[in-house]
Subunit: 62 residues, 6 copies
């Protein structure tokens, strides 16, 4: 059941694979549960869709 949602920027397939592998490894060790129990979802967000400190990231990173 444990379910990990990663909300971040647009990423390459390789980086997504690395996050999935590493998050699962960490979770398996900390919770002492089999790898198959873990699901990871990577949500990629455009910089027009994220704001920090009241400003869109697309504006902050011009």
């Amino acid at each position: 059941m444990p379910y990990i949602q990663f909300d971040g920027p647009v990423l390459s397939k390789e980086k997504k694979a690395e996050l999935v592998e590493e998050f699962t490894k960490v979770s398996r060790e900390v919770l002492n549960m089999p790898e198959q129990a873990f699901t990871v979802i990577i949500r990629e967000n455009e910089s027009d869709n994220v704001g920090v400190g009241g400003k869109l990231l697309s504006e902050l990173h011009k």
Copy 2:
């Protein structure tokens, strides 16, 4: 208010309509509330964005 989020694969419009209709029917009966109270969101995820057991679904389903 009840709000149902379905995270799954890419689906046809017909299947999304069916999930919305059936989830709402089930919720209405179990909670004994009017259908209008229920919102369903279908989040479609590419197989590069989901990992199970430490591997991307796109790798598992090659």
Copy 3:
């Protein structure tokens, strides 16, 4: 992988079990996937923590 999150009021164990069973049955039939693939999380919210139309549910349901 499919993952269903139900955000709603505080519920009895029986009603939570019924939602889990029925949501899984519906999903299994629509997606034609084995039941084991589906995870359902029931998030119970106090009426002080939910607002509709700008008002807390606890105020609306006095």
Copy 4:
């Protein structure tokens, strides 16, 4: 840390910027915390992916 997720329709960049700015301003005042502490994510949903009262929005708004 406070994190605000807005699930709604597809929006223009100007409207997304306005939501980010105003949600951050409200949160800063109510919680009395610096603006930098707040993250806002705007999730845009197609009308085929949202259901209210058991029907897809795309069907309701034909």
Copy 5:
């Protein structure tokens, strides 16, 4: 349909009511939709359950 989730610290009922009212007012004006369309959920998180920069908030705020 628009649905706003606020993830933050434990708050008083008054502050939750204020967030609901103000988020709804902002959303109504920006999207030009009736207030009744908006749902707000306030998720309160203990400082043991939130980490920033790799540390639990409870440790950072000792």
Copy 6:
């Protein structure tokens, strides 16, 4: 901005601290971003509130 939500069972403070530390370390290395950019939320779920394969975890783990 990156934001990591971990949905799982009830955990000790030590295990929550470990997940926060390790998820942040992994994310920092994969995304090459400063640790301060990452927020982790640990959502603990009772076994009456989670279903897998159509059954509540509390029933499966009797």
